[in-house]
Symmetry: C2
Subunit: 202 residues, 2 copies
């Protein structure tokens, strides 16, 4: 039997995607499930339902709760003190394009580093210098990678990925999609998505 697989859809501006990124690799490995890391942009999807910003900003009571929820959850996961960036949400376009320039195998480490800078250090991931610093630290030729983010093929690829996310019914991040098309939304559904991928239904 082929190894089961899930598509892991995430946006670099998404707080709860940070939690999933911090957990997904050991859990998927233990479950014997392969991962495809698929960065996309939530912004166009939020806009299509009338949201011009993060729901945390649009609904301040829910937003205040979510910051506290994230403080508690990062503490439980043993992550550094949760420190959201200002402004929030960050513009995640550059990070997403860089991720698509990188080889599939290099995407997880880059993603972990971006989220750590954003939510453990409160840095602005739309800053080209920060992304260059992360790339260099991971052993990439930062200038060469960043130059490729201007290629039309990379711009088109990110747009196509975002369109595919919308077609699959994705409305938030992180989301997990199994090979049979089941959608699971949110860091809280990661375990269930992995179980579903392995054929466990109840």
């Amino acid at each position: 039997m082929a190894q089961p697989r899930i598509d892991f859809w995430y946006d670099y501006a998404s707080t709860y995607s940070y939690l999933a990124v911090s957990r997904i690799e050991p859990l998927a490995q233990a479950a014997g499930v392969a991962l495809r890391w698929r960065p996309f942009l939530l912004g166009p999807i939020f806009k299509s339902q009338g949201w011009e910003s993060s729901p945390f900003n649009l609904y301040p009571v829910k937003g205040r709760y979510s910051w506290r929820d994230l403080e508690r959850l990062t503490a439980r996961l043993g992550l550094p003190k949760f420190t959201p960036p200002v402004p929030f949400p960050a513009n995640s376009l550059l990070a997403a394009r860089v991720a698509l320039v990188l080889a599939d195998a290099d995407r997880p480490a880059f993603s972990r580093a971006v989220y750590a800078a954003e939510f453990a250090e409160g840095r602005d991931i739309s800053d080209r210098a920060l992304i260059a610093e992360i790339l260099a630290r991971l052993g990439h030729d930062a200038e060469a990678v960043l130059a490729k983010t201007g290629d039309q093929a990379i711009k088109d690829k990110l747009r196509a990925e975002t369109d595919e996310a919308a077609r699959r019914g994705i409305f938030g991040a992180p989301s997990f999609v199994t090979e049979d098309g089941e959608l699971f939304w949110g860091n809280d559904r990661l375990e269930q998505a992995l179980e579903w991928a392995r054929g466990k239904r109840t």
Copy 2:
């Protein structure tokens, strides 16, 4: 040391409150945590943030996902096939007032029966005959209880509870509030709320 306690805030129209109601008693008992069952009305809270209906109706893509999520979760919990009522959301005013007429000790069984009629049988819980049937089945004097729902004191009590929910930062249901004021939102946070109540922070 006094037994820890959480306040369990729920709305009879809320799908995920149904899941929490189906799980909370054995989990709280195992954790040694006492429960206060506090029905309230989400409608006024949704209205105050500009929502005139359930977010499942206002955001159809998220709504479709949520129905599927509920089908999967009810199956995992061994509950009957998830069967939402038409119209959704139900008007939960009568059920909430009845719950406040009943003694604290009678509220859990009444609540379970209301949610089962609503989400396992798809019945309309705003129907006085259905509520009377449930009350009679549980051994209450249905007409006497229903008559009391017209008392000003009961109407005022439900309004005060809903106001208190809003003051505590509640914006959805189910919500769990510990004695030290920590708010946990959603069926997915039930275990964490119970741990917090017991003093476990990470």
